[in-house]
Every structure is written in C-alpha cells, then in structure tokens.
Symmetry: C2
C-alpha cells in the first residue's frame, strides 16, 4: 500500500515548475464541507477529479469509504491502495480483459450497465454487482429511461445483483444560476426516480459538486471537483474553495508590449473550459509550454518570479501531472503521486 511521500522540496519556491500544488487547509475545508452536508455513504467521492489515492485517503478519513471511478485503472489503483470497500465504476466497459481484472480485485466492485451488451460483458467476466445507468438528459452513456426496468431484469437474469440506478445530470451541474440549476436538476432527477421505481435496489447514485446540496433524489452524490475545485466551479458560489494551483515561473517579459510569459501551457492545463485564471492579470493565450498574460490589477512580474494559476477544469489538468505537492503556507509538506492516471 503506497503512502504519501515526503517531498524532496521544502518550500514552494523550490519546486520545479510547472508544479501542481494543493493547499492542505483549503483541501481540508472542502472535504469537511462535503462530509458535513453529505456524511458517510451519502457521498461517493469521484476520484477522476484528482486521480490520487493519497487524496482519496483523506476523503476516507472524513468518513467516505465508498468511491466512484471513471476508468478500470482508477478502480484497480484504489483497490490496491486498500480503498476498495465499495467502488463504483460509473462508466460502461465492454473489454473482457479489463472486466476480468476488475472481477479479480480484492474489493467490492459495482459497475454501470446501460445495454444488453454491457450486461452480458459484465456477467461473462464474473462481475457480481451493477447499477443501471439511466440517461437523465445528458446525451452520453445511460439507457433510455423506459428501458431501465427491462435492463434490470436482464441483469438479474444474467446473474448480476442490481444495487439500484445511477444517472448523471451533467447538463445541469455547471449552471451558474442556482434557481435554474435546482429546477433542471429536479427535472432530471424525476426521470431517475421513476426509473428507480422500476429497477429497485437501495442506491440512487447521481450528482456532482454543482448539485451536492440541491439533488434531493440521490441517495449518494458523486462529487469529485469539490476537493480541489477549479475556476469554472468557483463561479457557482458553492461552499468549496479553490485548493489547487499551478505554480509557474516567469521566463520572459516584454515591458514594451506589456506582457509576460510563464512556463505552464497546454500540456499542464485542461483547456476545454477555456483559459485558466491568473489573479491580477489578464490571460492572453496558452501555447504548448507557455502562458502569455498582461497586467490587470497587478503589474508585470520579472523573469524568475513565480505566478499561481487556477485551472479552468481540474480533471483534465491533473491528468497531465505526476505529482500533487501538498502545502501549508509556503512549506511543501507532502508529495502525492497522481497514481490513477490512464485507463
């Protein structure tokens, strides 16, 4: 079982850049806030947002021992780290070798199914428990709601235990207006509740950071981003704070043209939500290994200065990095491997 490692670096100012840093106190604030609102198994933290067993261990320490995974490798890594009390793969997998690897884990493994093919594959691999994944309005995985009851019967006939349903309201979780977010979440969850009545089982798994306190149907919330947060979720007025930054070093400055360049770019940042945030500056653009920015409230930095960037989307950002450096003020107190990367 891997343990959080001591960092080779004592101070943030010593870290080679770009470096992902996690503010320990802000992380703990977020973990406590969710655990208070959704204690124990009423939350099933999603590890895809951080891909880090050391961080998952902190989530366990505040009471959550059930986790959500997006990939087989995430699930295998969690099980090997001793975090396998109740793991849900909230995703469909058809690959027999990977499904057999999941079935062989020393862990409680539940998998999402949404079609006869995924049910047959799970059963053939020796998996024993599933949730029926229901489309609640996001055009992604998930069966048509009208098919949920029939698929549950199919799964039971194939020898699988059906623990309930899941349905991801991904089309509502990022809506900035809370009233609109609440209304649209309720609409999506009415679909899931109806499907649940036809499927049975004790679990209704849904939700996300953006709906953790407004989704009244889910028995468990699959929140992931809440732990580290990002600039997109930070616009929603949630009780979670940004706990992750990318430290970059200024490597070039043009006083005459009014911009500076630091060493974190497209290969250090998930870009699907647009440019990251750099407090005091306007981000002009990112290229492979650079971010170009101009002064806003802050003045231009000097070559060698460091800046702290808040990514726009945490999940694809962390997936580029090997290490999360945990900080207390300027001190680096731990180095956590991003050990759940890949598929």
């Amino acid at each position: 079982m891997s343990q959080p490692a001591t960092s080779n670096y004592s101070l943030v100012s010593e870290l080679p850049t770009p470096a992902l840093v996690v503010d320990s106190a802000r992380l703990d604030h977020n973990l406590a806030a969710l655990a208070a609102a959704r204690p124990g198994r009423t939350a099933r933290p999603h590890v895809k947002a951080h891909k880090c067993t050391a961080l998952a261990r902190r989530q366990l320490a505040v009471g959550h021992d059930a986790f959500t995974c997006a990939t087989p490798r995430e699930m295998i890594g969690m099980a090997r780290a001793g975090l396998g009390a109740d793991l849900l793969l909230a995703n469909e997998v058809i690959d027999p070798f990977r499904l057999e690897a999941l079935a062989a884990l020393d862990a409680r493994v539940t998998i999402a199914v949404d079609s006869p093919a995924t049910i047959a594959a799970a059963a053939a691999a020796g998996l024993r428990e599933c949730l029926v994944d229901v489309n609640v309005g996001l055009p992604r995985a998930g069966c048509s709601p009208a098919d949920a009851g029939r698929l549950a019967d199919d799964a039971r006939n194939a020898g699988l235990s059906v623990r309930g349903v899941m349905g991801y309201e991904g089309h509502t979780v990022g809506i900035v207006d809370r009233v609109e977010r609440t209304e649209k979440t309720a609409t999506a969850m009415a679909i899931l509740a109806q499907a649940h009545s036809e499927v049975g089982g004790e679990i209704v798994s849904a939700g996300a950071t953006g709906t953790f306190d407004i989704n009244s149907v889910a028995t468990e919330i699959q929140a992931g981003s809440y732990a580290l947060m990002d600039s997109a979720y930070d616009d929603l007025g949630l009780p979670f704070v940004t706990a992750l930054e990318i430290i970059a070093t200024v490597i070039s400055v043009s006083p005459s043209e009014g911009y500076a360049v630091a060493d974190a770019g497209l290969k250090a940042l998930g870009m699907d939500h647009g440019n990251p945030r750099l407090n005091g500056y306007q981000v002009w653009f990112c290229s492979d290994e650079h971010i170009t920015f101009g002064p806003d409230e802050a003045s231009l930095p000097a070559v060698g200065d460091r800046v702290a960037i808040t990514p726009a989307h945490v999940d694809p950002t962390v997936a580029y990095h090997e290490t999360l450096f945990v900080t207390e003020g300027e001190r680096v107190v731990e180095a956590w491997a991003v050990d759940l990367r890949g598929w």
Copy 2:
C-alpha cells in the same frame, strides 16, 4: 539506450482503448517528404509534438541528427537515448538545477536566451552555446528585435558561444490561405534576418510544419507536427498526411436520440483547437472519458465497435498517453514509449 519494444498486442482490434496508433507507412511518408524538402540539418525536427525517442530515431534515419526540444526533460531523454548530436532547447529556462543538468549531458546542448537574466542563468550553469531568441510577432518568449545585438554581446561577454538566432512565427504557421501565410511569414522573417545581421552566427532557426517550404530565411526549420499531423494542420493542404489516430471503443448507443458514445475524452485529447475529427460522424462534445457523436455519412455504430479519431492538436494529445502503437494495416508492429513527457 531504449529500443522500440515489440507490442504485447498483435492487432489493432486487440488494443485496450483509448489507444494512440501511428500508421507506419503514413509516418514514413511524412518523414520522407520533409527530408526531401529540408534534408539533414536544414530541418531540426521538434520532438515536443511526439515526445518519443523511438520516433526521433526514425527522423534520424532519414537524415536529421539535430533536434529541437521544448523542455529540459525532452532534452535529457534525447541525450540519454543517444540522440544528442545537436540539441536545441527552443525555450527559456531560469531554473539553475535544470540548467546544470543540461550542461552535464553527454550531448551538444544549445539553449535559447532572450534576456540578461536567462543569459546569466545559462552561463552560471556552465552551458556553452546559445541562440538569441527574437520576437518576430508572436507575443511569447523572444527579445525585442532591437535588443538582439546587445544581448548577443552580453552572451559572448558571459562566456557563451552565440550560434545565431531563432524566432518562431507561431502567428503565421496556421493560416489556411497559403498566400497570406507566405506574406506574413516573410514579414516575420524580415525581422529575424535583421536581428541575425546584428547577432551573427551561422544559424537562423525558425519555422514549423506550416511554413517548412515558404520560410526562405531560416537555415533550419523546427517542424514537429508534420510527422504525425492533426486535423488542424490537415486543413492547410500540406504534403503531409494524418498518421496518428486514437482508437476508441463504442460503449453506449442511443438509436432513439441518434448518438453514440466512445471511450476517448478530454483526458485523451488536447482540446485547445476544439473537437477532434471522426470521419463519417459529427462530434457533439467530449467529456472527461467520452466522446459523443452522431451519424453524418456513416450510420450509428454498435456497442463494441471501434472508431478512429483524429485529434485537433497533436502535441497536447500525445502528452496524455504512455504509448504510441505503430501499425501496418491492422497489425501492431511496435509499441513506442512516449518517454519524453513532463518537464
């Protein structure tokens, strides 16, 4: 010295997905096309696009023994792989530990400098050769053209040998219209030629895949994307063909709503150039581990079918992956480690 490994998989259909596959014949076509137009040291292939020493070895095999790198780790990896005949770090670095690591390599190492601070750092670390990096119109690294001659004097006074100049016309390389691309490249290169006259040295390093045959000032072209290509560069009508695809497995299909979902998403694709291309289909959107797409010329696939995705931007796509699988038709003939990732 690492050698290209035999793949554990014999057929593309056996690869766990998402999988990056490189068509060997199409790669060789691209390598031959650049080597014909820009033989030997008139091209300095940029390894940032593929981050793979095995692929660099194929570039060496067609005559290029000088390479461009974007990060210290790329340069260290190239040197350790025995590919260090003439390595340019086309980027500014101020970190003394990394600069000392570069100076200690068993390789010819040249570094870009664009300020007194970067010159001082390079000289203090024991580096011996540099290029003066000149801003030719892209607001990124590179000194003001008027400062180039003075910085060259500074570098020589600091004990560095100045091999010439570099200037990246990144604002012109993606212009689809060839006439406009040619004109704007000429404007940028006039700036670089003037700076070169004040700096001296034998090298004028510039260019990219989009300007390899229209940049008449550069003595060497830093083309990278040409080897694997992507959908953005594919729109420019260049003599290079897309050689890289991401193989994904269809894991969910909604016939009633007319879409399918495959298992390659934001963590398998650089997204700064927008959605990837999926021939025969319209890409609706990508999420962390999924791509949702609808039929266009092709009809909806079935669960378990495989699709081949062409990324929109090759560099940040490859940086997410561990392996490039090399294919000849349906056969997987080699597995190349993406061994130059990180910083």
